[in-house]
């Protein structure tokens, strides 16, 4: 009897383990091993969440290049994408980028897309990679190359043209694809280390002496302040296997050091892409962009040109290779040019995961360098971008 009482008391004192179930929980036999972290269930109402990582190895025979001979993450991008209302989407891309001396976190893009404001008319608002030319809109991991063409860096900056503002886009009801876009943006000025007192006396075009701020050589020119863009994109199908896209672009804004340089900027450009799909997986791409920069400074006008030409061939589901030629003048008062010859080879594993090697020969106004990259880019989760 005593033993029975002790057993009963023991049982009563261990309710969770033996006799009772806590509310909201049940007892079951485990049929499959619980998954480890990273393989758990996903609630149905979450937005699409994804991470893209870009890891680069870079070598160069330019001994003054401090970033050479390193293996490091170039970028980690996290995306949250989903519908916020019928015909309204939100896309937020947060990125940590490698800069010269470390990593910086930033909002890469954060935009609301109004898919149909009126029939044929859509709008986007927020911080956006501006649809200007063919490559500017695409994120770096979506491009068929490791670097970006010199003209984009020289005229728009390391990250291309990214503005905060509003864009309207209208699909013109024509028998062929014709889309016209207009955007109004604010782009922050760069900080500048030149004081207000740095001026010089120069002769203007009438022969009079004028005082102007000194324009300091910098490799960080880009457009800034209030920027207005326009783009007309057309596309023509030559049968089911060939398509040609032609774009015309125009921009009006100011320089990124406007306070000091007082430069008004206009950029015009044309882009052309010809794509041919010989069979299910094969594709030829011939892509070209050309921009003309007119930078009006107190001392006169600077006119600069730049562009690139890319040929890419995808011969299977998994492999593509390309060559690119760049020519670009800088945006600075003392003109220099850059010629770049590149070759790249890509092995794709999935839509967002690839391995790539690229060779680049750069001739920067006589200073030559040979550079190479090995790139691994991976994607986790559903990740998408607008039609490019």
């Amino acid at each position: 009897m005593k033993r029975f009482m002790i057993l009963l008391l023991f049982t009563a004192l261990t309710p969770c383990a033996i006799a009772q179930e806590t509310e909201g929980f049940t007892t079951k036999i485990i049929e499959t091993a619980p998954p480890p972290q990273g393989m758990r269930g996903t609630p149905l109402n979450l937005p699409d969440i994804s991470v893209i990582g870009v890891f680069n190895g870079y070598i160069s025979d330019d001994k003054t290049d401090e970033s050479r001979n390193k293996l490091e993450f170039d970028e980690v991008e996290t995306a949250f994408q989903g519908y916020i209302y019928p015909k309204m989407k939100a896309d937020v891309f947060l990125a940590i980028h490698k800069h010269y001396d470390g990593y910086e976190a930033e909002i890469c893009e954060a935009k609301m897309s109004f898919l149909e404001v009126l029939p044929g008319l859509s709008a986007q608002a927020g911080k956006i990679h501006v649809d200007f030319g063919r490559l500017n809109k695409s994120h770096s991991h979506h491009r068929p190359m490791v670097d970006q063409p010199s003209v984009i860096t020289n005229f728009f900056g390391d990250h291309g043209l990214v503005g905060q503002g509003l864009a309207l886009s209208y699909l013109i009801p024509l028998p062929f694809y014709a889309e016209i876009q207009g955007g109004a943006w604010t782009v922050p000025e760069h900080h500048h280390d030149v004081g207000e007192g740095n001026t010089a006396e120069i002769l203007d075009i009438t022969g009079s002496t004028v005082t102007v701020p000194i324009i300091v050589e910098s490799d960080e020119f880009s457009v800034a302040d209030k920027v207005y863009t326009g783009r007309l994109l057309t596309s023509f199908a030559f049968g089911p296997k060939t398509e040609m896209m032609v774009g015309l672009n125009a921009l009006k804004g100011k320089g990124s050091h406007y306070t000091h340089h007082q430069d008004n900027v206009k950029i015009t450009g044309v882009d052309l892409a010809l794509k041919h799909w010989p069979s299910a997986y094969k594709r030829w791409t011939f892509q070209n962009e050309w921009f003309h920069l007119a930078r009006k400074v107190p001392a006169g006008n600077l006119n600069r040109d730049g562009g690139y030409s890319l040929v890419n061939y995808r011969w299977s589901k998994y492999w593509d290779a390309g060559v690119r030629f760049d020519y670009s003048e800088n945006a600075m008062p003392v003109i220099s040019y850059e010629r770049v010859y590149s070759a790249m080879l890509t092995r794709r594993l999935t839509e967002t995961t690839h391995a790539r090697v690229q060779y680049r020969h750069k001739n920067l106004y006589g200073e030559k360098a040979n550079e190479g990259w090995v790139q691994m880019s991976f994607g986790i989760g559903p990740h998408s971008h607008d039609l490019e």
Binding site: T32, P35, G38, M39, R40, G41, T42, P86, K87, K89, S113, L115, E116, P119, G120, L121, S122, L171, P173, L174, P175, F176, Y177, L233, S235, F236, A237, P240, E243, M245, K275, W277, S279, A280, Y281, R283, S316, K317, Y318, T350, T353, I380, S384, H385, D386, L387
Partner: protein
């Protein structure tokens, strides 16, 4: 001035269709066929993809946007098989064909979908479709359900012709039943036959006709075969006595040819949709071709 007026008039006539048929865009050629069967002369239909394309790998083009811009209805396979259509629909700015609109038709509705994951899936498992195996049109009986879903969509847009669409649907289903009976009779002699397929796309077909898939050439969906996996497939074929290796016309055939040579299994390159081979022009001819090759 007269020339300008004529040019504008010409352009307007070019862009406005002469017949007010329902303009339907489909993501596949098989869906185009089904819409034509149900819609008859009340619809004008165009497929975005062609039958010789890998549906996982269709590249969106601006010319497709133009067609979707003018469409009254979009008919798609769904289950993420034609996910590329999403960016096209967004670019087309056409409220008639967005998800939830009357003109949005997903023919996977009502289909008994196979291989629906019951636990978390990720890329370690290959290109797994989170809503299940999307190749359901390869069971011909499923086309009766698909045609019914299309009929419902057409009736939403054009209720005045509901009787016409319903009659066409019944006619299609009756014809289909006869064809399915014919195909099953032909396949009866090979029922239980073991096969290897390149991609995991023939499950519905195998289930419909009593075939057993013993292995895929791809080690996991969408992952190209390694030499090690090819050796494993060769071993499996020899062990289990698989008679055929089935590959869609667009897949690379180097691996399957090597397997066929080393095992003696027949290599069948077959269409999985209308247009997969030039002579396959209807949905019924897809199965005529498949059944003809397998039942030899």
């Amino acid at each position: 001035m007269k020339k300008i007026f004529l040019a504008i008039t010409g352009l307007a006539l070019w862009t406005v269709p002469a017949v007010a048929a329902i303009k339907v865009m489909t993501t596949t050629t098989d869906l185009k066929y089904l819409v034509e069967r149900v819609g008859g002369d009340k619809v004008s239909v165009e497929s975005i993809s062609s039958g010789d394309q890998d549906l996982h790998f269709v590249e969106p083009k601006p010319s497709m946007v133009v067609k979707l811009r003018r469409a009254d209805m979009l008919v798609r396979i769904g289950l993420d098989q034609d996910m590329w259509a999403d960016s096209l629909v967004a670019a087309a700015r056409n409220g008639k064909i967005v998800y939830g609109a009357p003109g949005y038709v997903d023919t996977s509705v009502g289909i008994k979908v196979l291989q629906v994951p019951t636990k978390k899936v990720d890329a370690s498992m290959g290109d797994i479709h989170i809503f299940g195996n999307p190749h359901y049109w390869l069971d011909p009986d499923n086309s009766a359900t698909m045609a019914g879903t299309i009929k419902n969509g057409l009736c939403r847009l054009d209720p005045s012709n509901a009787g016409f669409y319903a009659a066409n649907l019944e006619k299609y289903r009756a014809e289909l039943a006869l064809k399915v009976k014919e195909w099953k009779e032909k396949m009866a002699s090979v029922k239980g036959m073991k096969i290897v397929t390149y991609h995991n796309s023939w499950l519905y077909f195998a289930q419909a006709f009593g075939l057993e898939i013993v292995e895929n050439v791809e080690p996991k969906p969408g992952i190209p075969p390694s030499p090690g996996h090819i050796n494993s497939v060769i071993k499996t074929i020899k062990e289990k006595g698989a008679k055929y290796i089935i590959a869609e016309t667009y897949y690379p055939l180097k691996g399957p040819r090597m397997i066929a040579e080393k095992t003696g299994a027949g290599l069948l390159t077959v269409p999985s949709s209308i247009g997969g081979l030039p002579e396959v022009k209807t949905y019924f001819e897809v199965f005529d071709c498949l059944v003809g090759k397998l039942s030899q």
